[in-house]
């Protein structure tokens, strides 16, 4: 157990080691540790904030969905109403058109009837004249009996 210069050498080494550790080893590691602590704290806070925001977003989404459903129902209702309106309108139009067509057809039929009646009247007059002439077995002066014939025709 000799105490000698080694004691001083050891003390100097110790002082150097402590100085080096204080200056170059301890601060960066502690800084890194504190930074990480801060980072973790920030991360946890952010996660909590995120969860909260998600909750809010879910609420918002549910609300929007609900509104959309209401709107859709409204739109469907309106559309149905409009559709029945269109159908009614179409029915109405169709009925009017049909009536119009029927009226026109009736007018035409009447016209045709009249025309046919005129034609028949003419022919009947001819036939009556021919028949009469045959009955009389003589020439009837058509010109002389013109007035008579006309009168006959109008009576048909």
């Amino acid at each position: 157990m000799n105490i000698n210069l080694t004691l001083i050498g050891q003390a100097i080494s110790f002082a150097f080691f402590v100085w080096f550790c204080t200056k170059f080893v301890w601060p960066p590691i502690v800084t890194a540790l504190n930074d990480r602590k801060q980072k973790i704290a920030d991360g946890l806070a952010a996660a909590e904030r995120g969860a909260h925001e998600q909750e809010l977003a879910e609420k918002r989404a549910a609300k929007t969905l609900h509104e959309a459903k209401l709107q859709a129902q409204e739109i469907i209702g309106q559309a149905q109403k409009r559709a029945s309106e269109i159908v009614d309108e179409a029915k109405d139009n169709a009925r009017k058109e049909a009536e119009r067509i029927v009226t026109a057809a009736n007018a035409e039929i009447e016209q045709e009837v009249n025309r046919a009646r005129e034609a028949l009247r003419g022919q009947v007059a001819g036939l009556v004249v021919a028949g009469a002439s045959k009955v009389l077995k003589r020439e009837v002066n058509a010109a002389a009996n013109e007035a008579l014939l006309k009168d006959l025709v109008s009576q048909l």
Partner: protein, 293 residues
């Protein structure tokens, strides 16, 4: 080589110093080393303590340089665990404000642990290697080559640390409390009186008590570590002696060595921890200004 020579050889430092006739050189045996007195240096203690200390600083510096606040790697994880461990201890025991105490505690813990750790290397490995190198390359007599690999079994190493700690204690005591405060601490406790005459009697008594307890701090700090490590080393040497006797004692010695080494892991860690903790506590004492009763 007899058993006692073997043990002596293991307990002798590799000493470089000034011979009585004035020239410098390596001591050939323990007696020569003794004649050198104070002007000598234990080359082995210096070498191994510097090696372990630099190893510690190298590892920690490597991590410190690349330390990130992101996901740490394996080595960074280990270093951070050590730093946090020391930091927690310092926060628990040290109430003052001094940025140097925590790094000093870490240095002490790691360095003392590594120096103690040299004890777990089988006792003959490094001394035999040194003997072979000395004999082969330097032509020295093998049993004149000494190598004590555990620096903490050298009181120079333990006192080197504890006296440095003591000087810091004195420095901070005076700095924080002032000369008067420090002297008051040494002389006004534990006995005090309102009566001035009685107080004058108490002062020397107090001083003797407090001064002894003050000196006991560095002394116990270094001798505790030295004693534990020296005794542990001695047991390893005694166990190693059994290998030479017969294969039965050799086998028994192997088992003993294993058992003692496993137990010793606890001791070396504990001693490093005690050294660190007491240093923190002493530094705390130096920093606290006591409220007067």
């Amino acid at each position: 080589m007899t058993s006692s020579e073997y043990i002596k050889h293991h307990l002798t430092n590799w000493t470089y110093g000034k011979f009585p006739d004035g020239h410098w050189g390596f001591a050939h045996d323990a007696a020569q080393a003794k004649t050198m007195g104070f002007m000598a240096i234990h080359v082995d203690t210096m070498f191994w303590s510097l090696l372990t200390g630099i190893f510690f600083l190298w590892i920690f510096r490597k991590v410190a340089k690349s330390a990130t606040s992101g996901v740490p790697g394996g080595l960074q994880n280990f270093v951070e665990t050590m730093v946090e461990f020391v930091d927690t201890n310092v926060r628990g025991s040290f109430t003052g404000k001094n940025d140097m105490v925590a790094p000093m505690a870490l240095t002490l813990f790691a360095w003392v642990f590594l120096m103690n750790f040299m004890d777990l290397i089988p006792v003959d490995f490094l001394p035999s290697a040194a003997g072979w190198i000395g004999h082969t390359f330097f032509g020295a007599e093998p049993h004149h080559v000494f190598l004590k690999v555990v620096p903490s079994t050298d009181p120079n190493a333990t006192f080197g640390m504890s006296l440095s700690v003591f000087l810091l204690m004195m420095f901070y005591s005076v700095k924080m409390k002032g000369i008067g405060g420090f002297m008051g601490e040494l002389t006004l406790h534990p006995f005090s009186s309102k009566n001035p005459i009685l107080q004058a009697v108490f002062i020397p008594i107090n001083f003797v008590l407090e001064f002894v307890s003050l000196l006991a701090k560095p002394l116990s700090l270094s001798l505790r570590l030295y004693g534990n490590m020296y005794a542990g080393e001695m047991i390893f040497i005694l166990i190693a002696l059994m290998y030479g006797a017969s294969w039965v004692t050799g086998a028994f010695g192997g088992a003993m060595q294993l058992g003692w080494a496993i137990f010793h892991i606890l001791i070396i860690t504990l001693q490093a921890f005690i050294f660190m903790t007491l240093t923190i506590v002493y530094m705390d004492m130096a920093h606290t200004v006591p409220e007067h009763h």
